[in-house]
């Protein structure tokens, strides 16, 4: 079974703090994604990566950065957390040559910024 793990299930941070969210997958997938999920807005893509050290902006990259130093690990960084970044953060991965791009998700991190 594909396993995608995220470093924390729940996180509480203060405004202005630097926040690191880590994601690890164990199936040698090339593509990895970071989303945030907010009620009524669905899943919005923040960044994705299709290879080590490669990254592409998604729909809402402002206020976020990412790092992919190893194939299995994709990190999301909030340089200076703000209250409007309170959300559920979801990491996903998929094979580059997947026929229909099925994405496998981690359990999510519920981030609260006070």
């Amino acid at each position: 079974d594909v396993k995608v793990t995220q470093s924390s299930r729940y996180l509480v941070k203060r405004t202005g703090e630097k926040v690191f969210l880590e994601c690890v997958q164990d199936m040698d997938h090339e593509n990895m994604f970071w989303y945030r999920q907010d009620p009524g807005l669905g899943l919005r893509l923040i960044y994705f990566s299709y290879d080590v050290k490669m990254k592409e902006k998604g729909d809402i990259p402002e206020g976020y950065s990412v790092s992919r130093e190893k194939k299995e690990r994709f990190s999301l960084i909030l340089e200076s957390a703000s209250t409007n970044q309170t959300s559920m953060y979801l990491c996903a991965s998929t094979l580059l040559r997947s026929s229909y791009n099925e994405q496998f998700f981690g359990p999510g991190t519920r981030l609260t910024v006070l």
């Binding site: 009524g40 669905g42 899943l43 919005r44 994705f48 996903a92 229909y100 791009n101 099925e102 359990p107």
Partner: protein
Amino acid sequence: DQQVKQNSPSLSVQEGRISILNCDYTNSMFDYFLWYKKYPAEGPTFLISISSIKDKNEDGRFTVFLNKSAKHLSLHIVPSQPGDSAVYFCAASSAYQLIWGAGTKLIIKP
């Protein structure tokens, strides 16, 4: 500009009856469509997919129908069970990505 739309934020269905969740899209170049199910505090899990060259795909209690001329797809769950209560996302496959709808919260009443 939303390319994938789920216009019903929520749906309530009696246990044992049919649940029908709808999804509309605008881009006729999408080659696959997927449905995911999400419970609170968990990541989405893949449910069923359909190729754009098909009009129906069935897997147990779940059937997805695709109407290309109307750019519409629907997920049928028969019979609905309490464990089906969740948020359902429709997604369209494009290049390396999935384009997501906003989700429909399905509530199964006992």
